[in-house]
Amino acid sequence: MATLFEGFTLCGLVQTQSASDSAIQGIELDGDSDHAVVTDSTRAVTLYKVSDQKPLGSWTVKQGQLLTCPAVFNFQTNEYVVVSDNKVIRVWKEEDLHLDKAFKATVSADVWRVHSAPGGEPVVLFQRGAVRLLDSLLSAPQQPIEDILSEEEKEVIRWSTNIVAEKQHFVLFTTEQKGEHFLYVQRLNPNTLQKYRLEREDSRAPPLSFSASLRDKHINLLYLYPNGCVYQSVVAVQGPVGLEGVQALPRSLRLRLPVGEGELGAASAVALDEAHVAVVGMPHPSARTGKDFLCIWNTNFQTLQADKEMVGRICGQVWCYLGKLFVPHGKALSVIPYECQKSSLASALGKLRHPGIAVSKSSVAIPSWNTLLHGDQPQGPTKIVDSRKSKLRRKSQSAPALTVDQVLELIKTGPVEEVRREVEALVSRGDAQDLQLSVGRLACQLVARSQVETAFYAPGALARLVKTQCLCHSMCPDLLLLALEHKDYFLCQLCLQLFPDIPEVVTCACLKTFIGVPDDDVEMVSLEPDSVSFMEGLVAAGARGGQQNGFSPALFEEDSCDPHHQPKPPQHQDKKNPTLQLEVCPVGLRKAVLLNEVLQTPYSDNLLVPHLKDLNAPQVILFLQYLQFIYLKYSQDVYTQTPVLRSPTMTQIIDWVCLLLDAHFTVLVMAPDAKGLLSNLQSFVKSQVKLFSELGKIEGSLQELHKMKPSKDISQYSIEVIELF
């Protein structure tokens, strides 16, 4: 889960002459975390206080001189360093007013960049690849500088950075030579230089941008190609010392961005953490045109996490410092704070539900990134009602509402009723943008306490939290099991309805509990009224149906096309056979409601079947009988129930029958109780097979009709034979 917050403009930009150049050379950090040193493309260095969006100081070189590298901050001496006209290094302090009066030293070779990082001394990288520490260079400015990159081969530096890790100081730079790209890793103290060759992209296009970060004692280099591929290469910090020559740099594809039409022009990718990459200058996958979006992608799940349209031309530059993205676009430099949270599979994929299920309540369980980011209320009308209610309540209580943290504290010790009240108040306030986060924390806290204190169980509060639809199973994995343990079937139902990501093992556990629970236990439980009324309707329709129209069940059975035709099960022979009472629901009403919820839960076959084997034979038979019962109900014409918001579909029922048979076939074949049931199911299958074969015939005849239309292709030229009489 990543969020892009509302950005602000740090400063305006001067439009440069050429379209490809940016107005900004670089943005660097200062000793103060709220400062940014912005070097423009010509002569000026400006220090901004980011939160106030106001410049604190500005320094320019004389007309005619040119800044050739972004100014950096020397964290050891609290001085700024910049290079003008390739060779003149200038050092000044914040108090200095004029750059001209500052210290300057002319070095003997062209400087590419000065790099500085907290905890390390600034280093100077020369255009021909040599690296010097700033101090040692300034002590003897005219010292000879060796050439690492050969002039004749036309190898030029494209990008560079430095990384300070565990007292190790690295300078990384990439070069281009005749279409090939190399990465140089220069270690300082002791100085070693390792050269790697980047794998060539098929299109031979050069990488658009690089970004390096240090993670787990490895340097991760992330680079973006115009075709939208983002590759990652890893270089160990304790590198293979002593390896000579050019090493091939292995890479792995982290992300394939949708580039839309054409290729990315000016785009840039920067790694935010191990799972998130911010990309600027790419088209939004769902927007139609324009390559001017700033997007955060999750590389683990390849999902778009957040996006923001940047108005104006993007020149493919982005800097990321301390939770803020700096993006020059159009005529402004925008600062966009972001936040990346550790993502779960569920929150990444939360929108994908089982395709067979109509999403209940028309709202999504996980609020979409967009609504969350742009501050829209995820649930329109219900929210308004809630907030109105809560306003009323707040008025009546007139007690100051507690913050999330206070409620969390309360949960640790407070009594059930008070917890419920405060949670309710907090949730219904609903103004917090990060409702999802707080709901998750609250639920986890509640569950944790319940698990520790067996006496403590707050069904009301939990139900309220689940109802926000901001919760999912992976956020609070113990919730559903806890509810089962406490026989809180209402909460179970809610969870089954609203969680998109219940693991199959938990679904099976629920199923097992629901089947096993005595009918009497459930009958008094209050469940979601819609589903109950659906079930009531279903049972009642069956009970009335035959008699009202004067139909006798025997008449049904003679119709061989009818799916509930049975190969004449000898009704009188086997009185014990439970299939006899077809019109009677084999389970209690509320139990059936709960089973329906299980039927509608998303699952994948391969994962479910092993867990289904946990059910014992009587349970399987009972469940199959129930499935048979609703199948028959569905197949009968008498079932004319109005479409209910949430009811199992025919396909789901058939799928579950198949799954159960798959899992328990041998057991069922052996069990004498199941004999009649199996033969009935066989007749279902027969009728289905017959239906499909009929459909196939229709399809065939329709295709023939299609073929009958002469499809005489008219080509540009043909020679034909005609006969005249």
Partner: protein, 696 residues
């Protein structure tokens, strides 16, 4: 009768251009029609709507409006010039800069003494029509905003001018604007857009009818300047208006492709005196903008973006069903050689046919494909060689190509514009083709209406001004002027058809005054004049062995004339005596090509847009009771029964979808059919205005 191999050619991308303007000359019953590419076509409405003349276009010329003054034709366009056409030489006579910016419209007064043009700069300029020229007379009061449309009051004293958002009525003698009629803008979103008065009509009772871009046809009182009636007829533009001669009916053409008729009638039966303009009929014969309209005596003629000319007869004007009472759609040029030509060359060495396609801007030379397979009737033969584009020759200069020819040996290629003739020498060795321009041309050869080569390729004939024919001798090294075949007397109309005999002795030339002259090429003098028939010849050909000339006229009559004997042949007399079958006479497109079967001297091959026909002169002629289209019947009959049902006209409609050209038979009983399906043309048109259709 036999099997034929038919080469179906569908790669001829002929694309007619949109019709921009139209003017009908009620006196001569000629319709002048201007297309977007600047070309002007003249249709003879007394002679089966035959397209008798085409004045080729020019890149820089854009015609916005046409106007007849007596027998003289004037046009004006956005290039700011007024042009008069020389209808005898099919070229602009002169162009006159009007100095008023782009010209939107040109009209003449009923007396034919003055022309008025509406200019972009807001002036209405009057020109005096002189004997050989026109002369600027004066401006009417200059207005703000362009003058889009004009209409002259029949008395000549007033002119109504359609402008942006208004109509002005001018008093011609003083030049002052006397009325200002404000035209409402459209509803809704188009409120902010200016309304363009695309067309106005000034009736003799001083009623002004206007059609505008807001989709309204409005009737105004020209005396008081008051609005009498508004008919909202379309959501789009009303582009053209035309008034019938008796001023009882007005038709309006819209962007939707509809033509809407308004009639000046009494709305109730009781009050026959109180007449008003009532919308009566809607005709939908176009898919795109109707840009040009003419209401003639018995029909409504319309044309527009969808390139075809529609003659829609007003059925109340006909007492019985006749040839003229049928709807006519004219899609393609009637004289095939005018816009695009095919010459088929049987190149002896390669046994390959060459096709020459003529576009306004270029010539394309194709080699036909080949197949050595044999098949049953109805089969499609496998191709051994695909057709190949050998040459693309772009014209020089701004003038469009008006005619072109390829010699039968395939060695010479010539084309002409109104300003120059170019001759090229083609050399093919193996698969390479080389082209060299013949540099020195005789001075006499300046332009040609028609070009053709003699069958041995030693001479070229160019139809020149005043019905004369230039004879040019071609040798490897040079081309030399030989003679001008010039009629001593008779018509000076341009030659539109020309053909030579295979033995090189005869040249026949037909002009649009229906005269066909036959010249003896050995003596280089006139041999005879074919008796003049009242309808224009649309196609003719000289038989390779008998030297009988077959001529087909625009009214579908067919004659065979023996050149040697200077009289109609017996077969022709027999045919005329018995009369042609009514089905043949009722066809609505003229025969555009005549050729002969080299294997069977009795067989003449003809075709029009929808069918081709092989006439076997050895077979009995069909009488009126005979089933005319009898191929299907014959197919179903047995071998023995067949001979009793045969008649001379064997018609094949297999390729009926806009069969455009059919070229001569090759040696091995092959025909070449060039098809240009109307659908292919329609699909290249821009999208029409969106219309709400039911359930869409």
């Amino acid at each position: 009768m036999g099997e034929f191999k038919v080469h179906r050619v569908r790669f001829f991308d002929y694309m007619p251009t949109a019709i921009r303007a139209m003017a009908f000359n009620a006196h001569t019953e000629r319709l002048a029609l201007a297309r977007m590419d600047g070309s002007v076509e003249i249709f003879n409405f007394t002679d089966h709507y035959f397209q008798e003349k085409v004045i080729p276009g020019k890149d820089s010329r854009s015609t916005e409006s046409l106007c007849w003054v007596g027998g003289r034709l004037f046009s004006a366009g956005l290039n700011g010039e007024i042009t008069e056409y020389d209808l005898e030489n099919l070229r602009p006579k002169y162009s006159l800069e009007a100095y008023g910016g782009p010209i939107w419209t040109i009209i003449s007064n009923t007396q034919g003494t003055q022309l008025a043009i509406g200019c972009e700069d807001g002036t209405v300029k009057l020109f005096e029509v002189l004997e050989e020229h026109i002369q600027f007379e004066r401006n009417l009061d200059r207005q703000k905003g362009r003058i889009i449309s004009l209409s002259w009051h029949p008395s000549g004293t007033h002119i109504a001018a359609g402008m942006m958002d208004m109509i002005r009525v001018f008093d011609v003698p003083t030049g002052h604007a006397v009325q200002r009629l404000l035209v409402d803008r459209g509803f809704g979103g188009s409120k902010s857009q200016e309304t363009v008065v695309w067309s106005v009509a000034f009736l003799s009772d001083h009623t002004v009818v206007s059609g505008d871009s807001a989709g309204k046809v409005q009737v105004w009182d020209g005396h008081t300047g008051t609005l009498v009636k508004t008919h909202l007829v379309t959501k789009w533009d009303v582009l053209a208006l035309s008034v019938s001669k008796d001023e009882s009916s007005v038709v309006a053409g819209t962007s939707e492709g509809t033509v809407i008729q308004f009639q000046f009638i009494a709305p109730t039966l009781h009050q026959q005196q109180d007449k008003e303009w009532v919308r009566t009929r809607t005709f939908k014969n176009h898919t795109h903008d109707v840009r040009a309209l003419a209401e003639i005596e018995t029909a409504i003629v319309s044309g527009g973006m969808d390139t075809h000319l529609v003659v829609r007869p007003l059925l109340e004007k006909f007492d019985e069903k006749s040839h003229a009472s049928g709807l006519r759609k004219i899609h393609f040029p009637h004289v095939s050689t005018e816009m695009a030509e095919i010459t088929l060359v049987s190149n002896c060495l390669k046994k390959a046919g060459l096709l020459l396609f003529q576009f306004p801007g270029q010539l394309e030379l194709w080699r036909l494909g080949d197949s050595d397979g044999h098949g049953k009737p109805g089969d499609r033969l496998p191709l051994k060689r695909k057709p190949e584009k050998l040459l693309l020759l772009k014209r020089k200069g701004e003038d469009h190509i008006c005619c072109s020819a390829l010699s039968s040996c395939g060695g010479w290629l010539a084309y002409s514009t109104v300003s120059c003739v170019r001759i090229y020498r083609l050399q093919t060795d193996n698969n390479n083709i080389s082209i060299t321009k013949v540099s020195k041309l005789p001075k006499a050869l300046r332009s040609a209406h028609q070009l053709c080569f003699s069958s041995d390729s030693s001479k070229m004939f160019a139809a020149s001004s005043q019905s004369s024919v230039l004879v040019i001798a071609l040798t490897q090294s040079e081309c030399k002027y030989v003679h001008t075949l010039k009629p001593k007397s008779g018509s000076r109309q341009p030659i539109h058809l020309m053909t030579t005999s295979v033995d090189g002795k005869w040249l026949a030339a037909a002009n649009s005054d229906c005269e066909i002259r036959v010249y003896n090429l050995q003596k280089l003098k006139l041999h005879c004049i074919v008796p003049v028939y009242g309808s224009c010849p649309s196609a003719m050909g000289i038989h390779p062995t008998t030297n009988n000339m077959t001529v087909v006229h625009a009214d579908q009559q067919l004659f065979e004339y023996s050149i040697v004997e200077k009289q109609y042949t017996d077969w022709s007399r027999k045919l005329q005596k018995q009369g042609l079958h009514n089905v043949w006479l009722d066809r609505d497109t003229p025969v555009t090509h005549v050729t002969f079967n080299p294997k069977n001297p009795n067989q003449v091959v003809l075709h029009d847009m929808h069918m081709f026909c092989i006439i076997d002169q050895s077979l009995p002629l069909p009488d009126q009771k005979t089933q005319f289209y009898n191929q299907m019947t014959l197919r179903s009959l047995s071998e023995q029964e067949r001979p009793s049902h045969l008649h001379a006209f064997k018609i094949c409609k297999t390729f009926q979808v806009s069969l455009l050209f059919l070229a001569s038979l090759l040696d091995d009983q092959s025909l070449v059919v060039v098809e240009r399906p109307l659908l292919a043309i329609t699909s290249q048109l821009p999208a029409p205005v969106r219309q709400k259709k039911f359930a869409t």
